[in-house]
Amino acid sequence: MNNEWLFVAFFIVIGALVPIAAISVAWLVSPKKSNPIKQSTYECGIETVGESWVQFKAQYYIFALVFLVFDVETVFLFPWAVKIGQLGLFAVVEGIIFIGILIAGLVYTWRKGMLEWS
């Protein structure tokens, strides 16, 4: 079968098992004397006010959004970059047009002031 992905699977599985083993050993040997004070949320000794699963501001979403678009873009660029050495100037220009269109998006976001942290 496809051997190389089997190796990767080994790495992922063992990479998950090692921390699980460490945490399990710690769980076995560590004392367990829990009480409500220990279980309370740690906020430097001050009583917790309200829920912590609260609503967050939209700014984070904007950054994730811009990231998503550029992330997808690089996926198109990687095959292009691999082959660029053999394809000559025309392919380079195509890639530059591709990047240029996306930079226009970045410039738009920038000009609208949406990249400002507020």
Binding site: L65, L68, V69, V72
Partner: protein, 102 residues
């Protein structure tokens, strides 16, 4: 070896589950989650047909990549709309967003 039918059945099942989510969930974000499942089902099909057809024809993979781009665009705009609606109407329940219903 694995016959192609296994992949196609997996894809059909994934698609149906996604469809179920889209039809029945009340939360608009959950509906988008269902759509993601359906798009993935399509991609499994494309990859399977690439592998079981002529591997030198890379078309299946190219289509899958373009589906990735479309999925990303769909999620970006869809979630932005949900957030925008939430801000105005204070709800993400699809049935309660009836401004365009007359």
């Amino acid at each position: 070896m694995i016959p192609i039918s296994w992949y196609l059945t997996l894809s059909a099942a994934l698609f149906s589950i996604g469809l179920f989510g889209v039809l029945t969930r009340r939360n608009a974000i959950a509906i988008l989650l269902g759509i993601e499942l359906m798009l993935n089902a399509v991609n499994v099909n494309l990859a399977a047909f690439w592998r079981y057809g002529d591997v030198n024809q890379i078309t299946g993979q190219i289509f899958a990549i373009i589906v990735f781009a479309v999925a990303a665009a769909e999620v970006a705009v869809g979630l932005a709309l949900v957030i925008s609606v939430y801000r105005k109407k204070n709800t993400v329940i699809a049935e309660e967003i009836d401004l365009m219903k007359w």
